[in-house]
């Protein structure tokens, strides 16, 4: 088992929560006991350690425990081992992965890691970082709702940017997710079933209306220099753009080109005023009249300045006194842990439909939890710890479906549920990939270095003297002109020497021209702008990027920085060295010493380390991916994932190539099996790896008989058999 340094630190620093008498967890239990007594319901018996182990790993770490993790828990006789495991998992990086997937479904996070544009990996990066450092929930919501700036510098800005053309839809989603109020119907008309009018909707939307797209090109001094260049070179007689203006414009664009891709766009809140729609049909206001902001409930915030409106709005939304903000997150997490919402009309209702007239199944408990959330200042790990350490969570799961009408539901124990697509996938990944938590770290680090370098250059140039920048661009233009003479000469030479068709020649010249101009401009930009601007900026703060799992940070050296889309070879060499260290460690750990085996292992590893955990893949995973088959959301709508059975799921578990990797003799599972010779030990390891338990007595009698008949191949049979059981797929 490997521990990351932050993880070990967290273990040392976290007070191991004794959920003793008087603790919040015990308080939950006494409320629930009251509820049981009142409803005449008998609580489910306490779950066995095995059941608890599998449940807590899947629900907190988002994956099954490894065989050794399972053994160490099951064989321990420490009295507080369940509570300690809760703390340990909540402090782990696995927690961040698992809850990233959870929030990504709610916040519709999409990421395209390769290819150009619209990837929004910055948002995923923001969310993951916030979860890793356990940023308080209210702070996260404020950061997203009111985010401004370039998305390269503030990934949270994607929250509004991605709904750019649809600010009203963005508002409806925000209110639904964080305040539990469904306003979307009132977007177009008074809601006939709910309490909201279209006027209410527009008054609410008036707060967050006024985001504008920005890109760093037009920002600050860089933009002013551009304007000066254009204005000073217009034709003096006609005031029109002439050839020289266009050439200067191109030169300027070449300078900003490295950050003019999607990475440097962003949003800015300009405090614009919302107007009613042209077809507004009610008598209380005229169509297209301006809307004065007013919150749908609670005390409306004072707006000191239109540009600050978004901040005041976000503060209002996330204030402890907001009527629903805290209740929604409490209800959300309660449902996540116990399977049925505490404040609700129906189990099947979506969590974010907290109509004001719905009731709590236990109002005092609910208010107690709301108080806990506030007391712990929206620390989600701490709050979840309270729920996970309750007796209620440690009970056996219900053995029947939850009734659709839950008004009489009394929480006899947690609800049985199929593991999410991501949890099933991540469980498989940790049985296939020798370093499951690393993700595509080579690509990630390359990108981070480039973005870091871009930020550095951009910062330096933005803060450079405007006159110097202006002159520098003229100097680039001058050098380009001189260069042009050389290019022309070469073109003449090539034309003279060319034998063949005219079309071929034209093609040849076009390519040459393009390449030379590009290289020339890049070089001149480097010489006249980047280097002097960087020199003027003085010594820079060094930046570092995160190394793979448990290895801390890598400080980025000068010679590794690049503005190109590919990392420099020197940097790649360094990463290859790290990778080789990993491989050598694995050779040692698994006693792979013969060169043939080593070669084969490297080949296996090449495929297996590309089987990334859910949070490290494109989001959503491409259609047809294992997770999409198991109901991963398409991220078009809020909470759009499903856990329904479908025919393609058994097909995937029986036949998918990825699942097939499990059978390789070098998969972590196979390597663990190879360590023991006796079939009984192998059987035990397989059970622990796939079901987090040892076989029961009845199972042993079946297993012994079958393994004698089938011989050595039985281990593989058993892996396939258990992978295709309900017990593997469900969290009980």
């Amino acid at each position: 088992m490997r521990f990351s340094i932050p993880f070990i630190l967290a273990l040392i620093l976290l007070p191991i929560a004794h959920a003793g008498d008087g603790s919040p967890s015990r308080k939950i239990d006494s409320f629930i006991a009251e509820l049981h007594a009142k409803k005449g319901v008998t609580a489910n018996p306490l779950a066995t350690d095995e059941v608890f182990l599998k449940r807590i790993y899947l629900e907190v770490a988002g994956r099954l425990p490894s065989a050794s993790e399972a053994r160490s828990f099951l064989d321990s006789d420490r009295p507080l081992k369940r509570e300690q495991l809760v703390d340990q998992l909540l402090a782990s990086d696995d927690y961040s992965h698992n809850f990233f997937n959870y929030w990504a479904d709610i916040l519709r996070v999409t990421v395209k890691r390769k290819g150009s544009g619209g990837g929004y990996g910055e948002f995923a990066g923001y969310l993951m970082a916030a979860l890793r450092e356990n940023r308080p929930y209210d702070q996260m919501v404020r950061e997203m709702v009111a985010a401004q700036g370039l998305i390269a510098e503030n990934g949270a800005a994607v929250y509004t940017k991605r709904d750019f053309a649809m600010p009203l839809d963005n508002l409806a989603s925000t209110v639904r997710v964080f305040l539990g109020v469904r306003l979307e119907c009132a977007q177009c008309h008074d809601d006939p079933f709910g309490e909201w009018t279209q006027q209410d909707f527009y008054k609410m939307a008036a707060y967050s209306y006024g985001f504008k797209n920005v890109s760093s090109r037009s920002k600050g001094s860089i933009g002013r220099v551009h304007k000066r260049l254009i204005d000073n070179h217009l034709d003096p007689k006609t005031g029109r753009r002439v050839g020289e203006v266009n050439a200067l414009d191109r030169t300027w664009k070449a300078m900003v080109a490295p950050w003019s891709s999607g990475h440097t766009t962003g949003t800015r809140f300009n405090g614009g005023q919302l107007r009613l729609p042209h077809d507004y049909q009610y008598d209380d206001a005229k169509p297209e009249s301006p809307v004065k902001p007013k919150t749908i409930f609670g005390e409306a915030p004072e707006i000191d300045h239109p540009k600050k409106r978004i901040d005041r709005y976000a503060e209002w939304m996330t204030a402890p006194e907001n009527p629903t903000f805290t209740r929604v997150i409490v209800n959300r997490l309660w449902e996540r842990v116990f399977g049925v919402r505490l404040h609700a009309i129906s189990a099947a209702e979506k969590i974010d439909d907290m109509s004001l007239d719905s009731e709590s199944l236990h109002p005092e408990l609910f208010e107690f939890l709301v108080g806990q959330m506030r007391t712990h200042r929206y620390d989600l790990r701490k709050f979840l710890g309270i729920l996970y350490k309750s007796k209620l969570y440690q009970r056996a799961a219900n053995t029947e479906d939850t009734p659709p009408d839950i008004r009489e539901y009394a929480f006899p124990g947690p609800v049985l549920k199929r593991a999410s697509a991501e949890q099933i996938w991540d469980s498989l990944v940790s049985l296939i990939n020798p370093r499951p938590n690393d993700g595509d770290w080579v690509t990630r680090m390359g990108l981070e270095v480039r973005l870091g370098a871009l930020n550095e250059y951009h910062h330096a140039i933005s803060n450079w003297d405007e006159d110097l920048l202006y002159d520098a661009i003229l100097r680039i233009r001058k050098d380009m002109k001189a260069e042009q003479v050389l290019i022309d000469a070469r073109i003449a030479q090539i034309t003279k020497d060319h034998q063949g068709s005219k079309r071929e020649l034209g093609e040849k010249l076009r390519r040459l021209k393009k390449a030379e101009e590009f290289v020339g401009q890049r070089g001149f930009v480097e010489r006249h702008v980047y280097q002097p601007a960087l020199a003027a900026a003085g010594p820079r703060a060094r930046f570092s990027v995160r190394l793979p799992d448990g290895r801390g940070e890598l400080e980025i050296r000068e010679e590794w920085k690049t503005l190109g889309s590919k990392p420099l070879p020197a940097f790649m060499n360094h990463l290859n060295q790290i990778r080789n260290e990993f491989i050598q460690q694995e050779f040692k750990r698994h006693e792979i010493s013969r060169s043939n085996d080593q070669r084969e292992y490297r080949r296996y590893r090449g495929s297996a380390t590309r089987v990334y955990r859910a949070a490290d893949l494109d989001l959503p995973a491409p259609p047809g991916h294992f997770m999409r088959k198991f109901g991963q959301a398409d991220r078009q709508l809020i909470e759009n994932s499903t856990r329904e059975a479908s025919l393609i799921q058994p097909l995937a578990l029986m036949n998918e190539r990825t699942v097939d990797l499990l059978r390789s003799r070098f998969s972590p599972l196979s390597l663990a099996l190879a360590r023991t010779a006796a079939m009984e030990d192998k059987i035990e390891t397989i059970y622990l790896s796939l079901l987090a338990r040892r076989p029961t007595a009845e199972e042993w009698s079946i297993l012994k008989q079958e393994s004698q008949q089938r011989g050595e191949g039985f281990a593989q049979d058993l892996v396939a058999a258990l992978l295709n059981t309900g017990e593997f797929l469900f969290v009980r």
Binding site: A165, D405, I406, K629, N640, R643, A645, S646, L647, T696
Partner: protein
Amino acid sequence: MIHPGQTKGSVDRRRFLATGMRSALGLSFVPAAFRAADLRGADQPAVKSPVNPKPARHVIYLYMSGGMTHLDTFDPKPDLDASMRGNVASLATSADGIRVSEFLPRMAKQMHHATVVNSLTSTAGAHAQGNYLMHTSYNLRGTIVHPALGAWMQVLKPADPKQPKSDLPRNVLVNGGSAHPGAGFFDARYGPLLIGDPRRGLADATHRGSMDDLSYQLDLSAKLSADFRQTYKHREVQAYRDMYADAVALMKSEDLEVFDLDQENAKTRQRYGSGFGDGCLLARRLVERDVPFVEVHLGGWDTHDKNFLKVPERANQLDQGLASLLEDLYERGLLDETLVVLATEFGRTPRINANDGRDHHPASFTCLLAGGGVKGGFRYGRTDESASNVIESPMEIADFNATVAYAAGLPVRQIVYSSSMRPFSVAHKGKPVTELFA
């Protein structure tokens, strides 16, 4: 577990309640808070469903997700001011008096096969709600998921026992999003088989190891999970058992080749085009093998911005796929027995917004029916001069779905109970518009 094939039928409601739902319906549980009010619909006397003398055997349901602009496709207004028309021209078609937009040149030659319904109208103007309503005829509710048409079709029209048994699923969804209501409250096995990329066919239908080993492993799996299955009586736990049986049958089936588009010649592949066209081609192949319901999605219609850049590209895919499908089904003599439906959640505003886009417009929009006994070259309903409002024969979504159900020979008035004992029917309260049938 409730068996949706078992319906109220002629069982008198009082007797039905008296004999106990458990025995009558094989219920495995009765909700704790069962309320008589949930049975409202059952108080009504059994209404006979209209009988379609020549029902279609198959439905190919093409869904334009995001809200297809009606003005720029099947409800063009040549005389409308360019500020709303957006300079989109229209074409005369093979059907008298019916025009389509210039983005649909191939469909212009096929309109004599189709009935275009220009008068759909709804109040569901958000994607989730509109999509759900179109697929189920019910409003999106937090408390229940209603089945989509493909699931209803299996429940109300089970496989003919006289026909040779097929291992192919009877409900297929190509390129659908995860928001599809699928089987709804029916057993998961009535839900659609999902095909992500039609070019890649049915993923993972072949086992890499030996089939003998696999059947041994699955037997072992069943033995080892007996206890789990006995303990947990959840609907989903049981659903997985059914899924495994179906999956193994499918893997062994000779019918699997139906998913292999490479068996079609290059000319056919080209005719249909790639992407959406591949989905249409797969639908035709499935229909040839008697699969009753195939749904194919084409997304990207949510053109809030750059409507006039995005629509031509979308419409081109639709045009090629749909026109080829109609022509091909006709040439093969399959069009009479196959209903082709073109549906979407809502139309888009005639007004063009600041981003050169069109916004959601549920008040009036257009769907299309072809084959399966509906009239060819027929237009139903009409919108005003700017396509903003319906001015003739408005059709609600439920009526449209009832018409589709009627075309497929489904009893539209038949009531089926969900596990919470609430009564539902295939198109809610929709009435079929029989005027559309030849």
